[in-house]
């Protein structure tokens, strides 16, 4: 009876229900609609005649799609590990007592202010083998300096990794920093009194307590991997050849430029499935821990 009363005056569930209703209408409405479209032969405008799984067959026999998925895995792993590592290190350093902390933080954060289109463009310039870094070094007399990853089909994908780590490390840094700032000072005092080495303190005490915050970072980065489009367009346009094609670019290309709503929808649905697959381990552990 007492708990029942409490629930009456303290209602997170109603709030959740309202917002989830909105999400359901917009996001799940879209997912259902997209799934429906993926079963049709819609081109520019929706066509509601169902033809079955043709679009999925077409998708998985499309060489470019398969290459895109493989690229996404390579890019995704390197990008997430790199950004998380780099961003966390920056956050730890920014949380120490350093001179000009605010200046450093702003420098690390500003790439977020730069749109991905401009990020891609400027890194394209830096990495341009003739007019960029390589050319500059060679002109300076370092004749054998070679850094042509951007135009090398086997290496181009790593240039995307560099540019996107540059762009997103700040994101991880601020989120982790906000978490670190929430760490109780008593905890630090205890760590100091115990004489625990700093690296162990972070790895074994501080970060485990911040698990949900770090999980936010991972999920946001995964979403960037799955939806990543602008950077590829600005930097490599999927090339050389199809060496840096990504699933999101595939879907976007087919929505309008290639006038194939059906195939684009199938690609979107498969992308959702993939992201669900990536999210499950994390949520599984959340479920177990909290109930």
């Amino acid at each position: 009876m007492k708990t029942w009363l409490h629930r009456q005056t303290f209602k997170p569930d109603i709030t959740v229900a309202v917002f989830f209703g909105v999400v359901a209408i917009f996001f799940y409405g879209s997912i259902l609609w997209t799934f429906y479209m993926s079963l049709t032969r819609s081109t520019l405008m929706p066509n509601y005649a169902v033809v079955g799984l043709d679009q999925y067959v077409k998708l998985f026999t499309n060489y470019r799609w398969l290459v895109s998925c493989l690229n996404m895995v390579i890019f995704g792993v390197l990008f997430i590990v790199g950004t998380l590592g780099f961003g966390t290190i920056l956050a730890i350093f920014a949380d120490r007592r350093i001179q000009a902390e605010s200046l450093f933080r702003t420098i690390f954060l500003y790439p977020l202010a730069v749109s991905l289109i401009v990020t891609g463009l400027s890194w394209r310039w830096v990495l341009d083998p003739v007019n960029g870094l390589q050319g500059l070094m060679r002109n300076a007399g370092w004749e054998n300096f070679t850094f042509d990853w951007l135009t090398n089909p086997d290496r181009a994908i790593y240039t995307l990794v560099i540019a996107s780590i540059w762009h997103s490390s700040g994101l991880v840094m601020v989120i982790v920093l906000a978490g670190l700032r929430g760490v109780d000072n008593d905890l630090w005092k205890a760590i100091r009194m115990e004489g625990i080495p700093l690296w162990r303190a972070y790895l074994q005490v501080i970060f485990p307590g911040m698990r949900p915050v770090i999980a936010s970072c991972v999920v946001l980065l995964m979403s960037e991997v799955i939806r990543g489009y602008d950077l590829v367009i600005a930097m490599t346009k999927g090339g050389p050849g199809i060496a840096t094609e990504m699933p999101a670019k595939f879907a976007v290309d087919f929505y309008f430029a290639r006038v194939n709503l059906g195939l684009a929808s199938a690609a979107s649905i498969v992308m959702l499935m993939l992201s669900l697959l990536m999210l499950l381990p994390y949520f599984y552990s959340e479920f177990r821990k909290r109930t």
Partner: protein, 294 residues
Amino acid sequence: MSHAIQAERPVFGPRIARFGLYAFLIASAAFFLLPLLLIISNSLKPLEEIRQGNLLALPVRPTFDAWITAWKSACTELECGGVRPGLWNSIKIAIPSVAISTLVGALNGYALAQWKSRRANLIMLLITIGLFIPYQAMLYPTVKILSSMGLFRTYAGIVLVHVIYGLPYTTLLFRNFYVGVPDEISRAARMEGASFLRTFWSVILPISTNILVVVAILQFTGIWNDYLLGLIFAGNDNLPMTVQLTNIVNNARGSVSPNVNMAAAVITAVPTLVVYFLSGRYFVRGIAAGAVKG
């Protein structure tokens, strides 16, 4: 006050380590600044110089012509008015969108963190999936819903779209922050019979400064840089600055002036940079900890 709190954080002991720390920070800063310097230096070059020389070279004859062109005379549509006409529209869209979506995300995130049930986790999973849907897949249904509400291509419509599309993002960040906040903080309020909303407003929000700042600046960045949603949902009278920026930077078959493109990009990014600089003072330490004891 902040010094007293900071003192608890151990400084790096040996001098050599301290030196290493700054070496690392400065090297990282150089890595981060390189593209910005490249953008600014090229925006100061006349077109001729860009065509002839290395992009990393410093300008020989620096000029602000490209900046002036980008601001008020680069061609973006029928009129050649630079990025200036969209500035006010961008501000007018971004401010309410950021404020509402941040607050709404905080409320929803807190509710999900508080609601100790399996269902809350499932719902969080379902909301998170929203982060993985390409915007293009959502355009058509969103258009249909908004036009049935009479909000398609209106100012209210574009704000609503930003708030809703941002929900998964803001909810996730807040929920995962609040999960880590000790329960004791709100328990007292609950015991006194304060309602959920009241607890949220007078107990939880005040201790959330850090995460509020983080989410607000991330949302501001996202909304400020948005192009597609503005183009489709804002309507002709509210087109944001990014529409003009994109029209300058990406034209398929017209002639291109990289210096003007870069100047336009920097001008468009200025408000976000200002927000970052100003946010610094709100990155405060140990507030959550203080509140527990307090």
